[in-house]
Symmetry: C2
């Protein structure tokens, strides 16, 4: 049996059933629908544990909030300076990873954030 608490399962479920990149407090709100008594500290603690174990990704786009991503496949993030949205884009990390190794650096994770204006904001 997995050594997961109900709380941790619920957090993981929330993250795996969205393609948004919610913050801790947004995740807190979403998990409250199935576990009304969960505490914010529990959300933070489990997000930290899941991130450390590699089951989820932590993402920092410089807006003052830590964002989380249940999709750990290799992809880049497009962050809109206007509306703040974060969208995914496939990205092969091999090229960058091999270049990195020439520096004696052993890579484990790649975080690629492109800043700009998203499609919707461009049209409005």
């Amino acid at each position: 049996m997995k050594n997961y608490s109900r709380q941790r399962e619920a957090i993981l479920n929330v993250l795996r059933s969205t393609d948004t990149h919610p913050t801790a407090s947004r995740i807190y709100e979403m998990v409250q629908q199935s576990l009304p008594n969960i505490s914010l500290g529990t959300v933070y603690r489990n997000l930290s544990a899941l991130s450390k174990s590699g089951e989820i990704l932590s993402l920092d786009v410089g807006d003052g909030f830590e964002h989380f991503d249940g999709d750990i496949s290799s992809h880049a993030h497009l962050h809109c300076r206007s509306c703040g949205c974060i969208t995914d884009m496939p990205l092969k990390g091999e090229l960058i990873f091999s270049a990195v190794q020439e520096y004696g650096f052993s890579p484990d994770t790649l975080s690629c954030v492109v800043y700009g204006i998203c499609k919707d904001c461009n049209q409005n």
Copy 2:
């Protein structure tokens, strides 16, 4: 005449004469050597202005601190999980930028952070 204050000039000089990626409070310490009475708020305000105007880069590696970079040429950052150092690596952004545009996204800045273990930490 540039509408730069002495304080802003000093901050820019500090950033352009190092290849480290200092935090605001480290920059504060460094600038104090030439301007002992500068205040931390002034450092933050000018870093924010310089970053907005594109003269410097703001960099977030997820260690809880905002880092700043006086080198605005296209390059990736290698962040060591062991010692916390940040080193530069040349990176052509064209490939990623052109892919991004297929999403209707207008890119202006690319932030690429590779996490792992640096050369020195690998040897110790």
